[in-house]
Amino acid sequence: MAADTPVEYIKHHLTNLTYGKLPGGYERADGSVVEEATWTFARTGQEAADMGFMAFHVDTLGWSIAMGVLFLGLFRFVANKATTGTPGGLQNAVEMTFEFVQGIVRDVFHGKNPLVAPLALTIFVWILLMNTLKLIPVDYIPSIAHALGLEYFKIVPTTDPNGTFGISIGVFLLILFYSFKIKGVGGFAKELSFNPFNHWSLVPFNLVLEILALIIKPISLALRLFGNMYAGEVVFILIALLPLWIQWTLNVPWAIFHILVVTLQAFIFTTLTVVYLSAAHEDH
């Protein structure tokens, strides 16, 4: 690891593997100069920052896709092998998850839409799997990546705001889509203009309030998940700075506490998604 001081160690662990475009004539960390604009991996945090907006966090993308594939593969495997006889442990676990999410959707969602329950299941299991990656000790996978020649590697996609905003903006687009589809453009506009105070003179005030409330939804969804996971990750990294023999006294309680946080955040993200979509389906 290229980390000598604690500060470098923390910064190192909080930097994503970034693939982006360096501008022509850019001087890299080792002193060499890029002749013309090239797409490459960032070798320092400064380079990653200089790549600007159009840079890909390859580790976030890779691990989130891997977890998505794992989720689909696992559930498909279990569904194909499901028996009506005595189910095995795996089938039990999958059925419990399924029924849990079904319960949430049945309690909260009042409209009619075949998409919502699969969406809720996907969001719940996907976020749960991505969050669970965090319980892997912070140095294991980055060290393997380092041995393979990758300087930075951050495995938990939900500790990257790009990952959480990706999911919440997808949810936001669905909210908009169903609001327009179920209520119609007029109905949606009417709901936004007349909602808290039902009087024509207060329409501009209502509009500001309601549009703000609408836009804040994906932001709060994404930042809540990101903030919780990031804070936990920072604490795990700080614990990893202690001498090895004492680490377990802090690591074990924090990891156990985090089993709760990991599940709770996945649960809340799912529930709020269903609540928002349910509100989008209410036609007055």
Binding site: K11, G227, N228, Y230, A231, V234, F267
Partner: protein, 75 residues
Amino acid sequence: MEMVYIAAALIIGLGALGAGIGFGLLGGKLLDSTARQPEMANQLQTKAFIMAGLLDAVPMIGVGIAMYLIFVVAG
């Protein structure tokens, strides 16, 4: 740079204060209503967990930011 430590202390302290009051109210009301209507216990517990997650988020984010301030910005 010493101000960063005071800022971090304020973030964690005030966050803990708010979370403590919030969890006290939430848990108290949960016990109250469960004692009054034990058959509602499961439903109430689920809803209380949603609230606990919402309540938990803000101080946790605060702790993360405070740690970042202490160890990265000041350190």
